[in-house]
């Protein structure tokens, strides 16, 4: 990563222009609506959450200095930091309660954290004092702090109504915003974590090619989400530096475990055995990533690193497929160019599967509706997931009631075991239980996670202090600690 020149003393001042993938009119200023990296970065500059995620996706204190739960993990007490909003008012418990209520507002279904914080029983939440707040859960959950670190959980001022007039506790003060173009913010001198070094922050939107040109042409100092090819080209020159967060997201094929032929666990295993993961990583990720072991979140908290790496075994796969009577048959793989590398990976995987005598036909669907379509359509499809804590991933995708259960993995026993782990307040015990669940998933589940691409950021050599961390964590897209040399 970068920031590896500790000799240079941090300098103050200057303007930082950071370019992110744009979302056009979709871009918003309301911190509770965000879904794009660019929104997250903008909101991170202006607002803060109670809890953030560390580089291993483990909750770390932010506006809450500490928290403790009761034995059932049902009632949580958060102690707030002594900070002020941009308008000079101090942060109070009331602000936290207002923010949570605003997120949960049933009349605003687009508030993103609504479902992850659904367990919160707002009527029983209360302010203990100005700086202590007690939050009660309808369903006990030992991972609750991580949920408060999720997307769209920023703390706003009590009575905050107009998103066009942002007022947060973040390191930068809002000055202007044009959706699809830019947001400009200036240093907030009273920031509790020490004022930012840069004077002005511009967070701009542009697509991949424009980001590359901007950072290479000196029109931006920071470019988010770069491609491996760009990294390879850029590293040959001296104009930009690449900051790579190792294996921070997950690329997978997902098989629906309730549909033939993947309702047969032999077939699922056979497909897992057929994937030439190294080649997929080498070609689709241009070598910038780690091979996957059919599990989400390599390197994150609770990841069972002791499980053996699955290796390619065409002969065994053939035997399994023969048993299932699938040799010579055709299976359709549903993909789309909704995300970079989907179609490429599917095409390449089809070639690998063909070696075992099964034809995998690549079908490309509409990019915009792909996320929704994948839930219902096809038997095997392309899938990627951003960085999030492993328990949250399981909650979202692998339980009977999960809203994004793309593999149709619905097992009451699994649900029950997971629920039991969730109320376990002892972290080590919880980790052990998660380990068992993940082993089951790796062996029987429908997820064929073949790789974990690096998250690549291009920066101008002038820019110092950028951390190589996965997205959605505290230090990603964070600009109050960086400086321009």
């Amino acid at each position: 990563g970068s920031g590896d020149s500790p000799a240079a003393a941090p300098k103050s001042g200057g303007r930082l222009r950071a370019v992110f993938a744009g979302g056009g009119a979709k871009e918003v200023l309301d911190p509770h609506l965000q879904s794009l990296f660019v929104d997250i970065a903008r909101h991170k500059a202006l607002y803060e959450k109670l809890v953030e995620l560390g580089p291993d996706l483990k909750p770390v204190p932010r506006l809450a200095t500490k928290w403790e739960a009761d034995a059932q993990a049902a009632t949580w007490r958060f102690t707030l930091r002594d900070v002020t909003f941009h308008d000079g008012k101090a942060l109070t418990s009331q602000d936290v309660l207002y923010s949570l209520a605003r997120i949960a507002d049933p009349n605003a279904p687009e508030r993103v954290a609504q479902s992850s914080l659904a367990a919160l029983d707002l009527r029983r939440c209360k302010a203990i004092d100005r700086r202590t707040v007690e939050l009660t859960l309808a369903a006990p959950n030992a991972e609750f702090p991580a949920l408060l670190a999720g997307i769209g959980t920023q703390i706003v001022r009590d009575g905050f109504k107009n998103p066009a007039e942002p007022n947060g506790t973040g390191a930068f003060r809002y000055s202007s915003f044009e959706p699809g173009r830019s947001m400009v913010a200036t240093r907030f001198d009273d920031y509790w974590d020490g004022p930012a070094r840069i004077e002005e922050l511009q967070i701009l939107s542009a697509d991949a090619e424009a980001r590359a040109n901007a950072v290479q042409g000196g029109q931006a100092e920071y470019a988010n989400e770069m491609t491996a090819t760009f990294a390879r080209t850029a590293e040959a020159g001296r104009a930009v530096k690449i900051v790579a967060a190792k294996g921070s997201t997950t690329q997978a094929f997902v098989m629906k475990v309730d549909r033939p032929p993947f309702d047969n666990s032999d077939v699922r295993l056979a497909f897992k055995l057929l994937a030439d993961r190294q080649r997929l990583v080498d070609v689709v990720l241009a070598g910038r990533g780690a091979v996957g072991n059919d599990l989400f979140g390599k390197g994150f908290q609770y990841y069972p690193a002791d499980l053996p790496q699955r290796e390619r075994d065409v002969d065994q796969a053939k035997a399994l497929l023969k048993k299932a009577g699938l040799i010579g048959k055709e299976v359709e793989i549903f993909t789309s160019d909704a995300s970079a590398g989907f179609v490429e990976a599917a095409t390449l995987f089809a070639e690998q599967v063909a070696e075992a005598g099964v034809k995998l036909k690549v079908t490309t669907g509409s990019a915009q509706t792909y996320a929704k379509d994948l839930l219902t359509k096809g038997v095997i499809g392309s899938h990627r997931s951003g960085a999030m804590p492993i328990p949250q991933y399981i909650t979202d995708r692998l339980l009977t009631k999960s809203p994004f259960n793309v593999t149709h993995w619905r097992r009451p026993a699994f649900d029950a075991a997971f629920a039991a782990a969730q109320v376990q307040t002892d972290e080590a015990a919880r980790e052990a239980k998660y380990g068992v669940l993940q082993k089951t998933l790796r062996d029987e589940g429908g997820i064929l996670a073949w790789g974990h691409p690096d998250f690549l950021v291009a920066i101008s050599p002038k820019l110092q202090g950028v951390q190589a961390v996965p997205p959605n964590t505290l230090d990603s897209g964070r600009f109050d600690k960086v400086w321009l040399a």
């Binding site: 009119a25 879904s35 701009l204 542009a206 424009a210 042409g217 929704k372």
Partner: protein
């Protein structure tokens, strides 16, 4: 003349009305709606369903259209399904950049094309004609994005003379932003136009009246400027009106490459996000512009060569 203008105006209004129905049907044919577009890893199906009813997307299509149409008649283009802001604002915000880009391109293209066309036309099949023809043809045969990549690599990344993108730039403070996008758009338009002017010039040069003017001793310069050019310009102007659409296709590519927050990008974004009111609004404005341009072209042609037929 007046009745002609009135006729055109009525026709144009009818066209716009039919067009908006067409656009509505087209967008309705697309899979998914604006609410679906929010379905990512963050909004659950339940949230999406509530959002849909809040946006009124569960109403029948006919109802939505009549509602929208009624509003348009009162001058209200509606609100975006995605950002919630007024469509008029989105149109206004995106029109500017594209307009500047197009106008800048045309200010370079038109004189250049006329000059090249005249030079080629007067030297039909001469060496100069062939050289210019080959160069413009070759230029126009290279895809926009290839030209863009080459220009950016050379002038921005290698030489550092010109900004490579509009990201973070302001046109008002940095007019140099226009140079590369215009250069990219230039090639094909100049080729198309100059070829029309060339053809017009050749036709005019062979016309009996030019031959006769020469016989009556009109000198060459005067001949070209006063006799040949107005007649040669007619196909050029008509082509120019037609070029608008072609140009827009190029503008989209240019907008994408240079990160210009313009019209074409907004349109494609609107389609991708199924933001029907925005697509409708943008198309309406665009179609109105196209109709105006065509009308203007007809009138200009009629002014240049009065006997050009107005209707048909």
């Amino acid at each position: 003349m007046r009745s002609y203008a009135a006729q055109r105006a009525v026709l144009a209004l009818a066209q716009l009305a039919v067009l908006s129905i067409l656009v509505f049907v087209l967008t309705a044919l697309l899979p998914g709606d604006a609410a679906d577009m929010r379905f990512t890893e963050t909004l659950t199906p339940d949230q999406v369903a509530r959002l849909r009813s809040q946006l009124g997307l569960d109403e029948p299509a006919i109802e939505r259209f009549t509602h929208w149409f009624g509003n348009v008649l009162t001058g209200d283009l509606g609100t975006s399904l995605i950002s919630g802001g007024p469509v008029a604002d989105i149109v206004k915000a995106s029109v500017g950049a594209t307009l500047v880009l197009t106008l800048a391109t045309l200010t370079v293209v038109v004189p250049l094309a006329v000059l090249l066309g005249l030079v080629m036309g007067t030297r039909e099949n001469g060496r100069l004609d062939r050289v210019i023809t080959s160069i413009t043809l070759a230029l126009s045969a290279i895809p926009d994005f290839v030209i863009a990549v080459v220009l950016i690599t050379l002038f921005s990344l290698k030489l550092g003379w010109l900004p490579a993108t509009w990201v973070g730039g302001r046109l008002l403070t940095n007019p140099a932003l226009l140079v590369l996008p215009v250069a990219v758009l230039l090639g094909r338009t100049v080729c198309l136009l100059s070829r029309q002017v060339r053809a017009g010039t050749i036709n005019a040069l062979n016309a009996e009246y030019v031959v006769q003017a020469r016989r009556l001793g009109v000198p060459r310069r005067q001949l070209l400027l006063r006799h040949v050019l107005p007649n040669a310009a007619v196909p050029g102007v008509q082509e120019l009106a037609r070029t608008g659409d072609t140009l827009l296709g190029g503008v989209l590519v240019v907008e994408a490459i240079f990160a210009i927050p313009g019209f074409a990008t907004a349109l494609v974004d609107g389609v991708e996000t199924r933001d029907v009111p925005v697509v409708q609004g943008l198309t309406l404005v665009l179609a109105a512009a196209a109709l105006l341009i065509n009308l203007a072209a007809d009138l200009i042609c009629n002014r240049l060569v009065p006997r050009t037929e107005l209707l048909r």
